[in-house]
């Protein structure tokens, strides 16, 4: 029985259990007319049966499949001929991969009778395991659902039990956010610690040379395996700074215009149009940057006699700025609208013009909120990936010249992790160290920004 069939069977059986539960409840109550002597309405008894059918069976099912592959691999390895069994760990993973490839019918890198036998063994064990799983699941269902059906009495508090389980499930669902954060922290931290075991953390944080390609042979050119991340951080900052230089003035001015000057019609038309900018996928911006903006920047530079790299920081930064405009403008719009009208009226009463009111009353009052919004935008710029992957460079130059190519943290993570990954290689692990830095920096920015925005909101509420 394949896992899919087992799963479908579980679902079908739980549907049947509902029917049985309702039926049994009406029966113990003594027919349809006297359902009122039941503690809960009959449907709750049905749902109770469903829960008792579904939850234990799915738990068994999930755990079984979760550990099946590991246990079977162990068994297959134990059954390998001795010359294969005592291979070093890294060769062993290759052998196991080959076996799995043969099992799934793909082409394996090496093909010999021992592996074929192992693959047959593997297949056999999987079939046995699924057969046993089917039996175990059915027994579980029979036991738990049968038990609850037998327990159905008029005084069984079915509704309370069902509601308790639902509430429990809801709590589990809401803790997923915590587990996600925990998962992120642990996964990047764990690999980063392994990385810092190979490369000292001081060298990573303060080194000025970044070339993660490690030469395999001594005579190979290129990569020296240097992991000084300063040029990468500097490149990220440069591109983010260019992006903010575009996004903050344009976003802020358009927010001011829309909230203070624009009529209803313009506001209704312009706001959603600007939101479209935020809805365009970043890969589209990346393509736009590489195809349209970068050549244009290059030509414009050539016209005034400047030598612009074809993957200049300027092009990537400009497009990233465009992407962030709606982010800045909608956040600023919110905080500007939150400034009480009384403050504006006060300024007008003193004879200030509208722009003077905005510049000297509204903006100072909204400043904390705007700063919070800008911080969120910075964190987004730092974490933005696709635009820089497609339009910024790969080589890590330590430069402040926006016309040269620089690389960013996200670009490096992507290039290090696309393709072959070996989790004992500093090259792969470096990506996780960069990811840790990215996570920490954006987390700090977000926490400050959310705190500032919330404090500011409370001020006027």
């Amino acid at each position: 029985m394949s896992p899919t069939t087992i799963f479908v069977t579980i679902v079908l059986l739980s549907g049947f259990a509902y029917y049985l539960g309702v039926h049994r409840a009406t029966h113990v109550a003594g027919g349809k007319g006297s359902a009122r002597i039941l503690h809960s309405r009959p449907t709750y008894y049905g749902w109770l049966a469903v829960l008792w059918c579904l939850i234990p069976a799915l738990l068994v099912f999930g755990f079984w499949l979760g550990f099946e592959s590991k246990i079977i691999t162990q068994l297959v390895v134990a059954g390998l001929p001795p010359e294969l069994k005592h291979l070093p760990a890294d060769r062993m993973t290759l052998v196991i991969n080959d076996i799995k490839n043969i099992v799934s019918g793909n082409i394996a890198s090496s093909d010999n009778p021992a592996l074929r036998a192992a693959a047959a063994h593997y297949k056999n064990l999987v079939a046995i395991s699924h057969g046993v799983l089917a039996v175990v699941v059915l027994v579980t269902i029979a036991g738990s659902a049968g038990g609850v059906l037998w327990r159905i009495k008029p005084r069984l508090r079915a509704r309370n039990q069902v509601e308790l389980v639902m509430k429990g499930l809801m709590i589990v669902c809401s803790t997923i956010a915590i587990f996600t954060t925990l998962g992120i922290v642990l996964s990047v931290l764990f690999e980063s610690i392994r990385f810092f075991g190979m490369i000292p953390i001081t060298q990573f944080l303060f080194g000025l040379d970044w070339s993660p390609q490690i030469a395999i042979r001594a005579d190979q050119v290129g990569g020296s395996g240097a992991f000084g991340a300063i040029p990468v951080f500097a490149g990220t900052l440069l591109i983010s700074a260019i992006a903010m230089a575009v996004a903050v003035p344009i976003g802020l001015m358009s927010a001011i215009y829309l909230s203070e000057y624009a009529g209803k019609k313009l506001r209704a038309a312009a706001k959603p149009l600007m939101e479209i900018l935020a809805g365009i996928p970043t890969v589209v911006y990346g393509f736009f940057a590489a195809l349209v903006v970068a050549p244009y920047v290059r030509e414009a530079g050539a016209m005034v006699g400047l030598d612009v790299a074809s993957e200049s920081a300027l092009a990537a930064g400009l497009v990233m700025g465009i992407m962030i405009i709606p982010f800045v403008s909608s956040l600023s719009d919110d905080v500007i609208n939150a400034v009480p009208q009384a403050l504006r009226d006060g300024a007008f009463a003193l004879g200030a013009t509208q722009s003077e009111t905005v510049k000297q009353v509204v903006l100072p009052a909204a400043l904390p909120g705007i700063v919070g919004g800008v911080l969120l935008a910075v964190s987004r710029a730092i974490g933005e990936t696709m635009i820089v992957v497609m339009a910024a460079g790969l080589a890590a130059n330590l430069t402040a010249n926006p016309l040269e190519a620089v690389t960013t943290v996200t670009v490096q993570i992507v290039t290090l992790l696309i393709g072959d990954q070996e989790f004992d290689d500093p090259k792969t692990l470096a990506a996780f160290a960069l990811g840790l830095m990215l996570f920490i920096v954006t987390l700090i920015l977000n926490v400050i920004a959310l705190y500032v925005v919330r404090k500011y909101r409370e001020q006027y509420e």
Partner: protein, 439 residues
Amino acid sequence: MSSMLKQEARVTSAPKAPDAPRPRTLDVVHAGIGKRYRAEKRFRFYGLAAIIASLLFLSIVFVSIVTNGYSAFYQTFIKLDVFLDPALVNKADLAEANFNGLIKKSLRNSFPDVKGRRELRRLYALVSPGARFKLRNMVFEDPELVGKTIKVWVPANDDVDMLMKGHISRDVQHGGRLTEHQLAWIDTLKRQGRIEEQFNTTFFKAGDSREPELAGIRGALVGSFLTLVVTLLLSFPIGVAAAIYLEEFAKKNRFTDLIEVNINNLAAVPSIVFGLLGLAVFINFFGLPRSAPVVGGLVLTLMTLPTIIIAGRASLKSVPPSIREAALGVGASKMQMVMHHVLPLALPGILTGTIIGMAQALGETAPLLMIGMVAFIVNVPQGFTDPATVLPVQIYLWADSPERAFVEKTSAAIMVLLAFLIVMNAGAIILRKRFERRW
């Protein structure tokens, strides 16, 4: 305003000329008013310019994508007269037949004066390597064709296609990729009416390919669909359950504060970090298959959950307390109150948030690169664990390809992606407009 105050301050503190009377405040105000009005005008202009600039950027993005991409919906085809020689095509063993040879022969017959291996190879290069598959499929469908001469439109090579569409120059010096002879052959074909542009069905029917004229988005579309199905099936129930718990049941304590802080933070964590999580946890730790829609769906679920939870809570919050009190008043339990009354009223808002979250997930690229959905995959995925790619990643892959023909394919794929996003967002807006209730 402060400039006004400053002027006044200057007036009072300035040493008074002995004969001139002290200027009245009103005069000072009048003296500066022109300047202040000009500043006002300038400020207004800046604001308007900012809006116009952002709308201009928007239109430039759209215009450049559309002008680059619309031509990908058409493709150049060449008409060949192919004699299905029974000597070369054995009816009993069609799989072994040399269809490529048939096409070459037909080309040789059309241009009998082409001699020499190199020239012949250039002649064959006019037709796409996919031509033989088209011929093969035709014969497989109807084996009776063997022995007849059939007229068949086969796709032209991408360079020919680009030339016909005017994307590359005829001149080798200006980036032209075709030789003089090839150009002459194309002109001959044109005169004979045997080369023309037709609607490009391959683009919607085929998976990825190294040959631009054979590449399509079907595989990526199916991959995106499968991934989104997983995302929706997981994130909607989990998100709604979490929103209900946090909004209706949770007491305000440290634990719920912790959850809230986490949700707000996750909403702002860079998407690529979720990719790292997926790689380390789902693929390395749990051993799920790489490049599979199910892993992509799991990662995107974690990413969209905050969006759905936040939208769901806002929507639940907007249901007035009187509804809850009425339900409790007639004896409903708290769970019944939520499930029977509050949730149905909040559902349109939750669905709107979900659609917006799904639209974000559809456009997401970076985390999927991390979990290997960036592989070159020709086959259309059949299930949730098959290797697959998604539309944005396909766009990224094509954008990286050097062939000129992939530029228009990329733009066309972007147009399809944007069309889906527009439909989804429009759906969300309509849903909100139709079902939103103001209490």
